[in-house]
């Protein structure tokens, strides 16, 4: 449904951020991207969202190539990025400008209730906590009913309790309309709580190192055996993805170092 075909991205300054990313994601599947910083996770999200374009390869949603922001793809950034001059309700309805006002208001109110913020519609974004703002941001991305929802480290700035509550809420929202979700995280527990598949990436250039399927049924018990197994496999893969790095291309590494001096 979401197809990445040999996607590569080299930035204008020569940084090879992604090389040959191939991934097929099913309708309604939740995929988590994990990996050390700098392995191209954000770059990949920006390519799928259409904010940037790939240097080679292609990205398609239901066969439609993504070359610019597309109505089928919703985005939640790491920061809530709410517009401070709009009320919470107007922020949620930001992507519904084409609808009549009454419908916009009704949709925003409904979405507020779903993210547990009923009654907060008239407030300014500044008056909400970080977790509440991120919920508004998720609601804003979801109300236009995208087929794919992208979240780039959406909960990394939040404390553990807030994060756990938001995981439940995100799964609830997902269950209602079953969009395909791609979420970047550096929290392995977060990845395994949420995802059907965990994609472990490695840096320089960013590549897919291993894909771990999480077989545990939802809701997932963090103390259960399937959860433990998946977690161990992801941690192991992450370990190797970092370890392997100096040993795979020793010549290139020393060559780089030589250039530096």
């Amino acid at each position: 449904m979401l197809t990445l075909s040999s996607v590569s991205k080299t930035y204008a300054d020569g940084t090879e951020a992604l090389r040959d990313i191939r991934l097929d994601i099913d309708q309604g599947e939740i995929v988590a991207l994990v990996g050390g910083s700098g392995c191209g996770k954000t770059t990949l999200m920006r390519l799928i969202s259409g904010l940037d374009t790939a240097s080679s390869g292609s990205i398609a949603v239901d066969g439609e190539t993504i070359a610019a922001p597309h109505p089928a793809v919703g985005v939640v950034f790491q920061e809530p990025r709410l517009l401070p001059w709009l009320s919470v309700a107007d922020n949620i309805a930001f992507g519904l400008h084409h609808l009549p006002k009454a419908e916009r208001i009704a949709t925003a109110q409904d979405a507020l209730t779903r993210v547990g913020l009923a009654g907060y519609g008239d407030r300014w974004p500044r008056e909400l906590s970080g977790g509440q703002q991120q919920r508004v941001s998720i609601a804003r991305a979801l109300v236009p009913k995208p087929k794919v929802l992208l979240l780039d480290e959406p909960f990394s700035a939040l404390d553990a309790f807030t994060r756990a509550a938001l995981h439940e809420q995100l799964l609830g929202l997902w269950d209602a309309i079953r969009p395909t979700i791609v979420i970047v995280t550096h929290d392995v527990d977060e990845a395994i709580r949420l995802a059907d598949r965990v994609v472990v990436m490695r840096p320089k250039p960013g590549r897919i190192f291993e894909v771990v399927s999480v077989a545990a049924p939802r809701p997932r018990d963090p103390l259960g055996l399937p959860y433990e197994k998946a977690k161990r496999r992801v941690l192991h893969a992450l370990d190797r993805s970092l370890q392997n790095e100096p040993t795979t291309k020793p010549a290139a590494a020393s060559g780089d170092a030589a250039l530096w001096w």
């Binding site: 109505p71 950034f77 990025r81 517009l83 401070p84 001059w85 992507g95 400008h97």
Partner: protein, 278 residues
């Protein structure tokens, strides 16, 4: 459930908040007026007690008399209206050109590189230096005065608007891109609201400079206006009238700024909270 909690919040906050804030505001006004009031009363007392004749520095009562005379003869109104008309005309001219050229420089890199260095150089010319040139070019009547005021208003508005556009948060622009806004929508729904606060501050700064420059303009030779009243007071040896004109300037500037603030407040409602938290 959260509905109920919210309502309770409102009910609890509503009755107590205004009372305490009114008391606090009266206290703040009292503080603000304590210094000028003490100075005025002290000086009045000093003159009445005969410690000074108050010829060069007239006491408040004599300044009030001057005000009363000027008001009764209708002069004050004429002068205020003349000054106000010049400031408003110069402000309109300077603010519009400043905003347009500032927007151009903020949006287009080429325009900024072309215009900004020259404008920065012009900005460092002291205002009064323009007077002879404007008199030569535009004559001694209104045009040269309005041009001088417009020059004063132009620069803060130009700087404020171009800086605000350069400072727009790219992250918010990306939100607009994600929702596929057209260039027009991007301007009205993201760019304009984003630069509004800085633009309004720039307009206020411009208006303040407009009032400074109107004095210079009216020194150029005017037959009416508060600046004329200043020069006239000096030539006639009437410090009470000079001070009356100065006070009228202060009041007029403050009132115009207040009107600008009140007119633009609804646009900046979303910022109020931030300011009160500082």
């Amino acid at each position: 459930m959260s509905d109920i909690i919210l309502d309770q919040d409102k009910n609890n906050a509503a009755p107590s908040a205004p009372r305490s804030s009114v008391a606090r505001r009266i206290f703040h006004y009292a503080l603000a007026f304590s210094v000028p009031l003490a100075l005025a009363l002290g000086w009045e007392f000093a003159v009445r007690a005969g410690w000074s004749n108050g010829r060069l520095m007239p006491p408040p009562s004599r300044i009030l008399d001057a005000f009363a005379d000027l008001t009764a003869s209708g002069e004050l109104k004429i002068h205020i209206l003349a000054t106000l008309a010049r400031v408003l005309a110069g402000f309109a001219l300077g603010a519009v050109t400043g905003a347009v050229i500032g927007a151009l420089a903020g949006v287009s890199d080429i325009a900024r590189r072309t215009l900004d260095p020259s404008l920065q150089a012009l900005r460092s010319v002291p205002s009064i230096a323009w007077v002879p040139l404007f008199l030569l070019w535009l004559g001694i009547f209104e045009a040269s005065k309005i041009a001088l005021i417009a020059v004063g208003v132009f620069f803060p508005v130009y700087l404020g608007v171009s800086g605000a556009i350069e400072g727009i948060d790219r992250k918010l622009v990306e939100v607009g891109r994600v929702f596929r806004l057209t260039p027009f929508q991007m301007t009205t729904r993201i760019l304009l609201p984003a630069i509004l606060p800085a633009t309004i501050i720039a307009l206020r700064a411009g208006l303040g400079l407009g009032f400074m420059f109107v004095v210079a303009a009216e020194f150029m030779g005017a037959s009416e206006g508060l600046g004329y009243l200043l020069v006239d007071g000096q030539q006639m040896g009437r410090p009470d009238r000079i001070l009356a004109a100065i006070i009228a300037f202060a009041a007029l500037g403050k009132i115009c700024d207040g009107i600008l603030v009140v007119l633009t407040r609804p646009l900046l409602r979303w910022q109020d909270l931030a300011r009160s938290q500082l």
